[in-house]
Amino acid sequence: MNELLVTTLLIVSLFLILGSGVWIGLTLSGVAWIGMQLFSARPAGDAMALTIWGSASSWTLTALPLFIWMGEILFRTRLSQDMFKGLAPWMQWLPGRLLHTNVMGCAIFAAVSGSSAATCATIGKMSLPELARRGYPDDMAIGSLAGAGTLGLLIPPSIIMIVYGVTADVSIAELFIAGVIPGILLALLFSGYIVLWALRHPGSVPPRDAVMSFGQKLHASRSLIPVVLLITAVLGSIYTGIATATEAAAIGVVGSLILSALQGSLSWRTFKESLLGGTRLYCMIALILAGAAFLTLSMGYIGLPRHLAEWIGSLGLSKAQLIVALTIFYAILGCFLDGISMVVLTMGVIMPTVQKAGIDPLWFGIFIVLVVEMAQITPPVGFNLFVLQGMTRREISWIARVTLPFFFIMVLAVALVYAFPQLVTWLPAHMKG
């Protein structure tokens, strides 16, 4: 009982310190420190330094900064400017027309960048003004952008998947490949909803732009095609087993440098900016990972993961009930924590429970990413909502309301992935190497 009391105390202090605004990575190591002092005879400081060193210098993590850097390079090319222009001619014939550029643009950019707020901001910067100019309704334009922006997490390379893979000890390459089908499925569901909406409100969709010939269309998307080829090469090399995730990332960096040089957007200034931007973004995540590694060690001494697994096991929940409970738990956590912190904070504690319940860690990774995506577009802390608020100067409650249909589509996607786990596991099972 005493143990339970102290555990509660630790969790309460964790959320108090986090809530007060202390940097997340430092908070995690601070709480871990208190836990070590209370529960173990091992000197906390030495254990901290050794654990953090071990996690920060691990080879599996090297894919993370390289993929981040690749995204930063491509982010500074003409890609984001040309995305709308390049996609628009191909979308005219679909009901809902150019609204689909949001979904397609986000899906392509997601494969370049591992982040959903960056995806949302980059695509929206070009597509929102263009859609407004042509008279598309604001609520659909902004809602579909907010929803589709979250694809950044699911379609590889995804930062959060690397973080999950490292903390839960699941193959990053398999996670990436596992995310492909659910990512495409989600994009199709978003597009399907736009089609349905357009068929029900035919008066709200503006007329189509001037018809272009096939050659003109190709010309308009000339800067997209090399990027799509690069993405295919990176993912293809992982799928066929030619390269590990880290090696594919390194090839991706070189490829994106060559692309940006060919487009003429590579200069010493953009190179330096992308390198430093990537270094800072990696550093931010590394600090959280360092704190989380120490916290996981400390929690192990307390025995929290084991107790939790035993307690949940004793409840006799079915697998479905456990998944629903975890979805609600993450939705609440997502109200005030970002996705990466959520994953690293909970993995060390929840993984034994998940494994004991017979849930495949690979499938669980995709599930977590989907749930974190949902948290991105739910108030009060949905990063995509903040991004859109900054871009459109609208009330956050209004943005959340127009995004709601897309939120329900994601709930549907989670249900589908639960009902048909093959959506996740089929493709990785057929990987070579």
């Binding site: 310190i17 060193w53 390289l66 990696y282």
Partner: protein, 169 residues
């Protein structure tokens, strides 16, 4: 003093960026090695060391740019007086934790040096050399946090709000 501190943060960040480039080079080298049939002993451990250096040496620079994330829900809803008090607390707590981290990282590097610890790979690198990056990075982070604390006390602190911070999600 201001110039000196800023040079320290940016200099460390430049080293971190250099480590990132070297990390890329080492991964490419190991790919090339496999294709062309040569082998560089311990290249994977070097990649790990460079990864660590890249992360640790940029800690202070990233802090100064306001890109380390934290929960600002409460901070942003407070009026200036209580907000300042809470900011001081976060900086104090942060400095304390960074201090602990710096001290024990330095101790770890020192012990590796004393006991001649080498890495487990075929390279047998003396571990204190790469571990130094952690000790230095943590120490510079401590300096940066104290720097911010002093600025806050003097009422001169500018908390940067950067668009880049949005990249992380």
């Amino acid at each position: 003093m201001r110039r000196l501190l800023d040079t320290l943060y940016d200099g460390c960040a430049a080293l971190a960026a250099l480590a990132m480039v070297a990390l890329l080079a080492s991964v490419l080298l190991s790919v090339a090695g496999r294709q062309l049939g040569f082998n560089i002993p311990g290249i994977d451990s070097y990649a790990g060391f460079l990864l660590a250096a890249s992360g640790f040496l940029s800690l202070a620079h990233t802090l100064k740019r306001g890109e380390h994330i934290r929960v600002t829900l409460l901070l942003n809803s407070l009026s200036p007086g209580p907000k300042r008090a809470l900011e001081l607390w976060t900086l104090l707590a942060g400095a304390l934790l960074a201090g602990l981290f710096a001290f024990y990282s330095a101790k770890l590097a020192w012990q590796s040096h004393e006991f001649n610890d080498v890495s487990t790979g075929t390279d047998a690198t003396p571990l204190w050399i790469p571990q130094l990056s952690m000790a230095v990075g943590a120490a510079v982070l401590l300096i940066a946090l104290i720097d911010e604390l002093v600025l806050e006390l003097r009422g001169q602190r500018v908390v940067p709000t950067s668009d880049e911070a949005m990249h992380n999600e």
